[in-house]
Amino acid sequence: MKCGVVIFPGSNCDEDMVQVLEAQGGGPVERLWHKEHDLRGCDLVVLPGGFSYGDYLRSGAIARFSPILQEVAAHAERGGLVLGVCNGFQVLCEAGLLPGALLHNGGQRFICRNVHITPATKRTALTSAIARKVLTIPIAHGEGRYHIDAAGLKRLKDGDQVLFRYCDAEGNVHEEANPNGSMDHIAGVCNEGRNVFGMMPHPERAADALLGNTDGMALFTGLLKAVAV
């Protein structure tokens, strides 16, 4: 059972992800350099947060053409587990490994604060170990407004592929609890094969008692359990 974290030029949450995966027993974690063509046998590949290629043109647009992405796509094709967080989610959408796109936030400003999200499905590795209805997880993005056309949204809902929605402290999903104007308040989705996951909130930033928030641990517990089997 092996985990790897991809490092693009401009990624800046890569070490945070390595540290949390190792703390949760997923180590030692491979650091996968964007210029290489080798996932070194990793079962779980994580695309971390950050500003790959400076987020220039569109977040994730350029990273998609890194050599390593071809291997990630093949890994996903074979049913291997892939998690994209924030910039990682943007890259997976640009690469077509996940449906939809991430647009500039409705308020035209970068937002970094805790938000509440509620799992919308139990049937994925990522959400399988979540006991609570509401999780407090930080977001930090400028292009996090999820967009998909009507037909795509229907397919997502029919396929039970929405992972999380933004909500208030009690778990109610509505406009005021939606920080960036995402369609259907979506904070994360998975693919039809249910092995590729993308989410804008940062679970790795809510996985340390010393920092006062461990709501994100359950996501890693679920993932690592699925990878171990």
């Binding site: 030029p9 800046n12 949450c13 945070d16 500003f51 970068f110």
Partner: protein, 684 residues
């Protein structure tokens, strides 16, 4: 040096050209003595850049030297390295510094602030330290009435956010103040804090004749060379046309440069490294050479340029962003090149280190000669030492004169101020004052959580708390200054600024260990401004000595003022204090929020019936002339010691510094964290 060329830049230049470049006639004569001949235009523009206020500190260094600059924990004396360096235990050192980008931000707020963040972070990682926290101290005009101030604020905050967020270092603290005096001249002070193993520090030095000199990072363009361009002989409409009005920051390039520099710091393949700030190549080549006592031959035509046909002095003075100068050990070039190739960065050899040899026929400065070549021909040469602060750069004494307002302030009598009838309304109005209200709109545009080391995210504390993961320790960081107090009484106001920073660190459980300062003042040639400056430095020295926190370095920014038709009005004298403290046990940190019903509230320190300089006095009564508030340095130091003792004994559940808005605002802030109220019994 006989010159037969028709190149105007290497023909002898006169005192008139020197004056256009901002050099005084007596400075021109000094240069002639140093060189033993008349300087050419290239050489004059080099001296004008290196002897500018910004690089030479010529009107401030004499006073700065009176500050306490040594201490048991100091690993590098102030001014020696690019940033202050303090030993924080377990074989780790903390590099930290604060700098200003006020004038560029007044013209183009977004890029001015962004390039300020870029510059201060390079000062940290050029020493091999990884930046782990950023702070900023901002001042604008009255955003309620001034559209211009709103424009400044929106651009500055977005610029700091966009650059810092992409660069990936969390913002751990800061302050924002508003006063009409900053309307046309906002203050944008950026601070960065980094950590490095004590045995892995890179020094900004150069030695070893024959060692190759490299320029790494961005290409060089005609950025920031306005001064010299106006004075050049062949100034034309088109030459002015292609001068970028402003510099553009590239946080993506900075992140690559950071990672490449830290990989380089992991090897022992280099002699020294320095980032390129003001006066770019000129400053880095001369300062590193002077520090090592050696010379350099630099071939300017090998520097990768962004615009074609750049002249020697344009390359020498360019302030293009995201570039470093590296002196590599002979034979280790391939290893260094591989690192920069990995990160897709320029890494070009542009010269070599030369032996120290004094220049014949001149008052030979010690150390080596700088020789700058263009296509094999020497276009400028001078002793490195003659250019630098602490070397040949001039040092001036300025006149002081106590301003009339200082005495007038004393006539203020608090007792005469009528007590408002509706105190409740005043109290709520204070909470809405921009100087006191929540700064959420600002800091939520910054990534405050990247690197998962911010301990204050879910438990706010007076100072930002940075977890040092593998040591179980933490750093407390803060930036503080109340410009209104310093304007009222520069000496006492600056003491208060230093002590407020120390109080914020103590309230968070930290031991203050070092100070960096950003001295934002008006025109040093105005005796009343220089009186403010010298009084402020005196107050800072007194407070730092009392608290045992040496000044490890910083930045001076003069000419912060509003120029009207008939008068020039300086901004409030604003000596922003950046302070770092250490918590040996991260678990012993202290937050500022009430935690549970029934907790007892204590007020430590002496309370006096004193509303001088308060936000209430200025906002509600519109009285802008009053002395600085009550302050006693001796009481203050005892208060800090007691506070830390209480925190470490585990009897406290929260601690918060009483500052702007007084006790009322402090209690409200403590209640807001966990939605708790408070009952206060007064003796009246």
């Amino acid at each position: 040096m006989a010159t037969t060329t028709i190149d105007p830049d290497t023909a002898p230049a006169g005192v008139e050209t020197a004056r256009k470049l901002g050099l005084l006639p007596e400075e021109f004569e000094r240069i002639q003595v140093i060189l033993g001949r008349t300087p050419n235009f290239n050489e004059l523009s080099i001296y004008s850049a290196m002897w500018s206020e910004h690089c030479s500190y010529k009107n401030s260094i004499r006073l700065l030297k009176t500050l306490p600059r040594t201490g048991p924990k100091l690993l590098a004396e102030a001014g020696q390295e690019n940033a202050g360096l303090v030993d924080i235990g377990d074989g780790w050192a903390c590099a930290f510094k604060i700098e200003s980008h006020n004038h560029p931000s007044a013209i183009e707020p977004y890029q001015g602030a962004a390039t300020g963040v870029g510059g201060i972070n390079r000062d940290i990682f050029t020493m091999g330290a990884r930046p782990i926290a950023q702070l900023n101290s901002l001042r604008f005009g009255d955003i309620a009435t001034e559209a211009r101030s709103r424009w400044h604020m929106r651009g500055v905050v977005k610029g700091i956010g966009d650059y810092g967020n992409a660069f990936g270092v969390p913002v751990l603290g800061g302050e924002v103040y508003f006063d009409p005096c900053y309307t046309t001249n906002p203050l944008v002070n950026a601070m960065s804090v980094g950590i490095v193993r004590t045995d892995r520090v890179i020094s900004a030095t150069s030695h070893g004749a024959g060692n190759p000199v490299f320029i790494v990072g961005s290409a060089t363009g005609k950025d920031g060379i306005h001064g010299a361009s106006f004075a050049s002989k062949d100034i034309t409409e088109s030459s002015m046309e292609d001068l970028p009005a402003v510099q553009v920051g590239d946080p993506f390039m900075e992140k690559l440069l950071l990672e490449a520099s830290l990989e380089l710091a992991g090897t022992d393949a280099i002699i020294g490294m320095q980032d390129m700030g003001a006066a770019g190549i000129t400053c880095s080549t001369s300062e590193m050479s002077a520090k090592g006592g050696t010379g350099m031959d630099i071939h300017l035509d090998r520097v990768p340029t962004r615009q074609d046909g750049m002249r020697a002095w344009e390359i020498l003075l360019s302030e293009s962003q995201e570039r470093m100068l590296v002196v590599v050990k002979k034979g280790r070039e391939a290893e260094v090149k591989a690192i920069f190739d990995k990160w897709d960065l320029n890494c070009v050899e542009i010269g070599t280190v030369t032996e120290a040899a004094p220049m014949p026929g001149a008052s030979a400065g010690k150390g080596g000669m700088l020789r700058y070549f263009m296509h094999g021909r020497v276009v400028a040469t001078m002793p490195a030492e003659s250019l630098v602060l602490g070397g040949g750069a001039p040092v001036y004494e300025r006149a002081v004169k106590e301003p009339a307002y200082f005495a007038e302030n004393r006539r203020f009598n608090g007792a005469e101020v009528p007590e408002p009838d509706d105190l409740r309304a005043v109290a709520y109005d204070l909470l809405a004052s921009p100087n006191i209200a929540s700064k959420r709109w600002v800091y939520e545009q910054y990534d405050t959580m990247v690197r998962t080391n911010n301990m204050s995210t879910n438990a706010p504390s007076d100072a930002g708390l940075v977890l040092l993961r593998d040591t179980g320790r933490a750093l407390a960081v803060t930036v503080d200054c109340n410009g209104r107090y310093v304007h009222a009484d520069p000496r006492k106001g600056t003491m208060i600024a230093v002590c407020e920073a120390a109080r914020n660190i103590a309230c968070s459980g930290g031991d203050p260990c070092g100070v960096t300062n950003c001295l934002n003042f008006g025109n040093p040639y105005d005796p009343e401004v220089y009186w403010q400056f010298s009084e402020a430095i005196a107050g800072m020295g007194e407070a730092c000595r009392a608290l045992g926190t040496p000044v490890t370095g910083g930045n001076v920014s003069f000419y912060n003022q509003t120029v009207n038709a008939d008068s020039t009005v300086p901004v409030f004298p604003t000596p922003t204090i950046g302070m770092v403290g250490v918590l040996n046990d991260a678990g012993k940190r202290m937050g500022l929020g009430f935690r549970s019903k029934g907790e007892l509230i204590y007020l430590l320190g002496r309370s006096t019936d004193d509303i001088a300089c308060s936000e209430y006095l200025v906002r509600h009564h519109g009285i802008r002339r009053s002395p600085a508030p009550y302050f006693d340095l001796e009481e203050e130091t005892r208060l800090h010691t007691m506070l830390l003792m209480l925190i470490r004994s585990g009897v406290l559940s929260a601690a918060h510094d009483v500052s702007d808005g007084g006790l009322w605002v402090t209690l409200v802030e403590m209640g807001l964290v966990n939605g708790l109220g408070f009952d206060i019994v007064t003796d009246s």
